[in-house]
């Protein structure tokens, strides 16, 4: 019986691989985000690099100072604060004063993450909370986007802004085509412009099983279907769904932010519900809301529903019927 040790009985959780640690997963995602960052530098020049570095440095410094002052182990090398800083920078226009990413990352780590107890305890996605804070605090700075490849920061609205303000009805009126949207030659936030790099990175994460398909696919499909059904003033089912998917922060949000382990549901069924909810809210905000883009607020709103979704999507215990389970839990609760 040489392979006796294959049948060890142990309590959950059962780790699939020895090297699936928090820091390993975080750094893998960070590495996957590197091409996106490179494209941002390519499209928007060196200013983009400055924004990203300041944002990451501020996030790491805030985390280290808070953990040190509370007498905890300093865990800035696990890559989670690094990722928060990077994702927050991806949500910003290229030409912002450098104090903006610094303040945003400080808020994301100090208020949205550490106040709740640090990694694993936060209710809201820290990077998105940081972005929402900056949007409410300095809306002008956060919505002044610049034209790609422009030397002296010529401002250019994002495709969704043009759509919202009624300046262009579709891609043709914006002097863009789908190729521009795919590669990232358009106005927008640093990390959202290059759809190709985002999708390739997402495919790698799926293949490595770091993220599951449920959240991103249901999120993107719902938002696209919503845009297709209601997105066009010409009538129902005339909207440009490809434009809806490629033009805003949908891919960045669906693949890298809605899949955050801490702030998304645990079960697969729950993740489907979560993704559909995010997609619907994104569609509603884009179509009828005050802002041109709604991915950030859609995810933040659905973050608040995660405990509820988890509660109602618990799998059935083996050997227990649904009715027995319900009455059993009711008895225990009372």
């Amino acid at each position: 019986m040489a392979d006796n040790n294959k049948y060890i009985v142990s309590a959950a959780p059962h780790l699939r691989k020895k090297d699936d640690s928090v820091s390993r997963i975080m750094w893998t995602v960070n590495a996957v985000l590197a091409p996106v960052a490179l494209m941002a530098v390519f499209v928007f020049d060196r200013v983009a690099l400055g924004v990203m570095l300041v944002s990451i440095f501020s996030a790491l410094l805030t985390e280290a100072v808070i953990q040190r002052s509370r007498g905890q182990r300093v865990t800035i090398s696990d890559g989670s604060a690094f990722m928060t800083g990077l994702l927050l920078a991806f949500n910003m226009p290229a030409h912002v004063p450098l104090w903006l990413p610094a303040v945003g990352s400080f808020f994301a780590i100090a208020i949205a993450k550490q106040v709740f107890g640090g990694l694993g305890h936060n209710i809201f996605n820290p990077a998105l909370a940081g972005r929402a804070f900056l949007m409410a605090a300095w809306p002008q700075r956060m919505t002044t986007f610049t034209k790609p490849f422009a030397v002296d920061a010529v401002t250019q609205a994002t495709p969704l802004m043009l759509l919202k303000e009624g300046k262009a009805a579709g891609l043709a009126g914006m002097e863009l085509d789908y190729m521009d949207l795919l590669i990232g030659f358009r106005g927008g936030a640093l990390g959202e412009v290059c759809a190709l790099a985002l999708v390739l990175g997402g495919a790698y994460l799926l293949a490595r099983r770091i993220i599951s398909w449920q959240t991103p696919v249901s999120f993107i499909v719902t938002a696209a279907a919503f845009g297709w059904a209601f997105g066009s003033p010409a009538g129902f089912f005339r909207g440009d769904f490809l434009f809806q998917v490629l033009s805003g922060g949908l891919l960045l949000g669906a693949i890298y932010m809605a899949t955050d382990y801490v702030t998304s549901p645990i079960t697969k069924r729950g993740q489907l519900v979560f993704g559909v909810g995010c997609g619907l809210l994104t569609g509603v905000i884009r179509r009828w809301g005050g802002y041109p883009e709604g991915v950030c607020y859609a995810i933040l709103i659905m973050n608040t529903a995660v405990p509820l979704i988890d509660r109602f999507s618990q799998p059935r215990r083996y050997g227990v019927t649904r009715r027995e389970k319900d009455s059993g839990s009711a008895r225990r609760a009372s």
Binding site: I111, V115, F133, A136, A137, W138, R141
Partner: protein, 198 residues
């Protein structure tokens, strides 16, 4: 005299209506966008609080127990009406910037809370001291919150611009900023208290 003093000082710090009893948050968060609003609101609420405390303490043996809350509200509403008329006549600008929150002093939890918890059970002089202390505590709390919100949110202090370098964070004069700041202040004060007790 010593009891008078004790009832007066307790409202300022140790039983501060905003920071330690956490009552009356609605007007606190709504009008603390600037120092001048905070002072106006604080004085108006303190006037109503002191007057209603005194009257209710005088009437405390006459008010039937079962309908005491409506009786308190009638007394409070009378003084709020006086405040509102005075503001409209002599400080119309302040009245406009405080808006609906002046009539809403009628349902301010601090005033009703002191009437119920203190004035209806204590003699007139002690109720006067209690009203003054709680009112002062309310004004102080409003001023602290308004100090942060006005400087950070609009870059001004008492309406005067502080610096042209600093770009104010609009969120601090909006509702989310008020809630955020309130949470941080409550947490900070609780932390200081825990340091002192340990």
């Amino acid at each position: 005299m010593k009891r008078f003093w004790l009832e007066f000082v307790k409202g300022i710090i140790t039983e501060n209506p905003i920071f330690f009893v956490v009552l009356g948050l609605c007007p606190t968060l709504a009008v603390s966008t600037s120092m001048s609003n905070a002072i106006g609101m604080g004085i108006a609420a303190t006037f109503v609080l002191v007057c209603s405390n005194v009257i209710i303490a005088m009437l405390r043996r006459m008010i039937p127990d079962k309908i005491r809350i409506p009786c308190f509200i009638v007394v409070i509403a009378a003084f709020v009406t006086i405040v509102e008329m005075v503001l409209k006549a002599y400080a119309p600008a302040l009245d406009r910037s405080l808006g609906i929150y002046v009539p809403l002093i009628v349902v301010n939890c601090i005033i009703l809370g002191r009437a119920e918890a203190f004035a209806s059970k204590n003699p007139v002089l002690l109720s006067l001291a209690d009203g003054l202390g709680m009112g002062l505590g309310f004004v102080l709390a409003l001023l602290v919150i308004a100090l942060f919100r006005e400087t950070l949110g609009s870059g001004k202090l008492m309406g005067l611009s502080l610096s042209h370098q600093f770009e104010p964070a609009a969120i601090m004069v909006l509702a989310p900023g008020a809630l955020l700041l309130m949470g941080l202040l409550l947490g900070g004060l609780r932390w200081i208290r825990s340091l002192r007790s340990s």
